[in-house]
């Protein structure tokens, strides 16, 4: 099967300018306005995610009530719950099988950092396995908190750049990260 002929889409090949900015805005608007989540409810946070999709805290107002069972039809993976060491390769496989563009919300303390389970069995944060766009703390986060995270993700998606603008942003972020102080040298309230 390899080598596959990969290619970028048309929107990545536009030159920087007013056309690209308009296409960015249009693509961002389209992409954020009906994100389809993939079901990755693992534990207690899944209950709150279901509640967010149910009647009172309605995710259907964003077009997101369709939780796709198949990753091939989903753009957003909400990792809701603790990920055990046995589940980690499954999580990665599902993430790989999603089609780009895709985003990940780490919902809850266990998905963000391992939560209260600091032991041999639980992965200490799903960012060890998949790249995460929004970390949502809480144990479990209320449905309103999940919706706030989704809205912040919407803003992030709307602001995403394409083509040469994106490469510029990637370079800037990388430079900032390389020059930033490591965490163990930061001084906070505990120092």
């Amino acid at each position: 099967m390899a080598p596959w002929r990969s290619r970028m889409g048309l929107e990545e090949k536009l030159p920087s300018g007013i056309v690209l900015t308009s296409v960015e805005k249009l693509a961002g608007y389209m992409r954020k306005n009906s994100l389809w989540p993939a079901t990755f409810g693992l534990a207690c946070c899944a209950i709150e995610m279901m509640a967010a999709g149910a009647g009172r805290y309605d995710l259907a107002r964003f077009g997101m009530e369709v939780f796709r069972a198949s990753p091939r039809q989903a753009d957003l993976m909400i990792v809701a719950g603790r990920v055990s060491n046995k589940m980690a390769p499954v999580l990665r496989q599902i993430y790989d099988q999603m089609a780009a563009p895709k985003w990940v919300i780490a919902m809850g303390a266990c998905a963000s950092s391992g939560g209260m389970f600091n032991n041999y069995a639980i992965v200490q944060g799903v960012d060890h396995v998949v790249p995460v766009d929004i970390y949502l703390p809480g144990c479990p986060p209320r449905p309103e908190m999940l919706m706030d995270a989704i809205l912040k993700l919407h803003d992030q998606i709307y602001a995403e750049k394409l083509g040469p603008n994106r490469e510029k942003v990637i370079k800037e972020v990388e430079l900032a990260a390389m020059n930033a102080l490591p965490i163990h040298q930061l001084k906070g309230l505990l120092a």
Binding site: W4, S6, R7, M8, R72, Q93
Partner: protein, 121 residues
């Protein structure tokens, strides 16, 4: 008034066909193609799909058999519906004829049964 009344249907069929062709062509030309190994594999709830034989061995044949047998016997049932509707008019002739029909399909059913086509594992 003298125009053929089926012209609008032809027109809408052409529009539908053109829309489908345009969508597929536009996606093929302007869309990205980012492949990776996991995307090319069958989806099996996150685990490696089984069996990993050659390309043809990727899909267990029992699913195909079940689908095929269902189609055949479902169509047989569909053929029984008109007989049920006109049961009185057809009378004895209908009964004998349908018995021959069901008997013919039954031969195929018995063959599948004896050859193990109905075993799932």
């Amino acid at each position: 008034m003298n125009a053929n009344p089926y012209i609008p249907i032809l027109a809408i069929a052409a529009v539908g066909f053109g829309f489908a062709v345009f969508s597929i062509a536009a996606a093929a030309f302007t869309g990205p193609a980012r492949y990776n190994r996991a995307k090319m594999q069958a989806y099996e709830c996150g685990i490696e799909p089984s069996p990993q034989a050659a390309e043809g061995g990727r899909f267990p044949v029992k699913y195909f058999l079940t689908a095929m047998l269902f189609i055949i016997f479902d169509i047989e049932i569909v053929f029984l519906y008109p007989w049920a509707v006109t049961f009185d008019q057809l009378g004895l002739f209908g009964l004998v004829e349908m018995a021959i029909f069901i008997g013919t399909v039954f031969v195929a059913f018995a063959y599948v049964w004896r050859r193990g086509g109905l075993e799932w594992d």
